[in-house]
């Protein structure tokens, strides 16, 4: 019985998943191992772990769901892993459900918390777009699988120590890899870097129509702020993709972040929760954005935003 943290190289979320795994190990009294596919375990050498495995094979040089899932299945069998923990990255979303299914198990994905009760671990995850939390338990025999949400555990709480690194070479054949990935690329170099912006005015679905973005633009103008948006706005072509904040866009940390008509889906929150002060304006008092807002106004943004602009004008005069 042991915990296996499956980590990605040079990835902050992986350190968070490691911190979570160490905590689960301490609470459940289980040894904790880490695995990195394709090398890069050096950064784990000074962490408190019972062992690190570098999973290496010529067929794992590029990520494929088939390769990763088959390789980790074999490593789990060798270690007798009972709980496998992942960071909830796009890559994990692609292969971890397949790995879990190969054991006829379900990945409890995107967890934000946990508790241990009578030696059983329960996870908390968000449902209904973050409006409700669900406590989930595993049924039947292990192995169990869970991925942890970005920012839910702290990377700086990783316990230091030492561990031995080993190479694990799985048995794979070329015929088992059914997809052929090409090189990752960016559509265009980013012309706009929002990461240095001091003030950001960001709009979401609540803006309703492209023409209405002007309402928020007025606020940005008077504040000297950069404009940004949540994904649906950029998908609609109402604002360029390069101004998208969130997991598929930019990560920002301004002094003030105005979230206007943004409900606060986690995909957006991971991109802006580093903001010093968050101001949310939304019609729906239950919108998850209010959970991370310092200040919130519940109301119609088409009345509230012009009122804020007026107040700023008065303050300037």
């Amino acid at each position: 019985m042991s915990i296996l943290a499956v980590l990605e190289q040079g990835n902050r979320m992986s350190l968070e998943a490691l911190a979570a795994s160490q905590q689960f190990g301490a609470e459940l009294g289980l040894p904790v191992y880490a695995a990195v596919v394709g090398g890069g375990s050096a950064e784990l050498a000074d962490k408190k772990l019972d062992g690190v495995y570098t999973v290496e094979h010529a067929l794992l040089s590029a990520y494929t769901a088939d390769g990763y899932s088959l390789a980790l299945h074999q490593l789990m069998a060798k270690l007798g892993s009972t709980l496998v923990v992942f960071p909830h990255t796009y890559q994990v979303r692609d292969f971890a459900p397949k790995l879990a299914t190969s054991f006829r198990k379900v990945l409890v994905s995107d967890c934000i918390g946990h508790k241990v009760e009578n030696g059983q671990i329960h996870f908390v995850r968000q449902v209904f777009q973050g409006k409700i939390n669900a406590e989930v338990s595993f049924a039947g025999n292990p192995p169990f699988f869970a991925s942890v949400q970005a920012g839910a555990w702290r990377a700086d709480s990783v316990m230091a120590g030492s561990c031995t690194a080993e190479t694990f070479t799985p048995e794979l054949s070329a015929a088992q890899i059914r997809t052929k990935p090409l090189e990752p690329f960016r559509d265009a170099e980013r012309a706009v870097d929002l990461s240095a912006a001091q003030i950001i005015v960001s709009v979401g679905r609540g803006i309703k129509e492209a023409e209405n973005i002007a309402v928020a633009q007025k606020l940005a103008d008077i504040l000297g702020a950069e404009m940004a948006a949540s994904r649906p706005i950029c998908d609609n072509g109402w604002m360029p993709m390069e101004r998208q904040v969130g997991s598929s866009g930019q990560t920002v940390a301004p002094k003030i972040y105005f979230a206007i008509g943004i409900s606060g889906a986690i995909q957006h929150l991971v991109g802006m929760k580093g903001a010093k002060t968050v101001v949310a304006i939304n019609r729906d008092p239950e919108a998850p954005i209010f959970e991370i807002a310092d200040y919130g106004i519940v109301g119609d943004l088409f009345q509230v935003v012009p009122a804020i602009v007026d107040e700023l004008r008065k303050a300037k005069a």
Partner: protein
């Protein structure tokens, strides 16, 4: 090509959600198609228009999901399979098991679904269906090009990166939202939908749900992690209060 599109019916985006004894109160909810699944359907319809063939919609749930199925047919799907039963206790593996069984005899060239559901959001039913059917898969797909028995697909990665992936048919893809423009059903489409085949298959006829691998113990409202100050009421007063706070309390203006 034969394209199967798995769609889910979820509570409407603006629904007011109420909990009762740790369970969602669903008596007065209205429902709609899961948004990412609407994009999967759109992709399926466009591929059919380009390459010919048929689009078969698969939807699991109680009687009420019939309205979502009709809507998909009205938009242009050719026929539907309704896996009928109470799936409240089903986990993603359970639902995927039923879908995989229902698709067994169909032998689709391509299975499409949304990347995740807006309700439970496990984000894996598609991947599980692929694994159970022995198909290769790829997730978070932006676009699909089919040539003969191969596909070149554009996968979204993190931080603004993308990647093309080549895969042979048959395969399963989970589609990202926003990758296409969604169509509306036409009047003609709505009329035609009434005559299209909806094959109902009972959950029991598919061998029933397997034993759940995960169980929801309870649902509860999230606690605010930050001490938020919320202003309601008159917009002018709320705005004035906000600016005062930003200037003199947070000192960021």
């Amino acid at each position: 090509m034969k394209i199967a599109v798995c769609i889910k019916q979820v509570p409407a985006r603006d629904s007011v959600l109420r909990l009762d004894g740790g369970r969602l109160q669903d008596s007065d909810l209205s429902y709609e198609i899961n948004e990412p699944d609407a994009y999967a359907l759109e992709e399926g319809l466009q591929l059919k228009e380009k390459h010919g063939g048929e689009v078969v919609v698969v939807c699991a749930g109680p009687e009420r999901v019939g309205s979502t199925i009709r809507e998909a047919l009205a938009k242009g799907a050719d026929r539907a399979i309704h896996i009928e039963g109470d799936l409240d206790a089903a986990d993603p593996l359970g639902t995927a098991t039923l879908i995989a069984k229902a698709l067994e005899a169909e032998k689709p060239d391509l299975v499409l679904t949304g990347l995740q559901s807006d309700d439970l959001g496990y984000g894996q039913t598609g991947v599980i269906v692929a694994e159970l059917m022995g198909l290769p898969h790829a997730t978070i797909i932006m676009s699909v090009e089919v040539s003969a028995s191969h596909m070149k697909i554009k996968r979204e990665l993190e931080n603004g990166f993308f990647q093309y992936v080549e895969v042979a048919l048959p395969a399963l893809l989970t589609m990202q939202s926003g990758s296409n423009k969604l169509r509306y059903a036409t009047l003609m489409g709505i009329k035609k939908a009434k005559t299209k085949e909806v094959r109902k298959v009972d959950v029991a006829a598919l061998g029933g749900l397997p034993e759940a691998a995960v169980t929801t113990v309870r649902m509860f409202l999230p606690e605010r992690s930050k001490q938020s100050q919320i202003f309601e009421g008159d917009p002018r007063q709320a705005a004035a209060k906000l600016i005062e706070k930003l200037r003199f309390e947070a000192r960021v203006l």
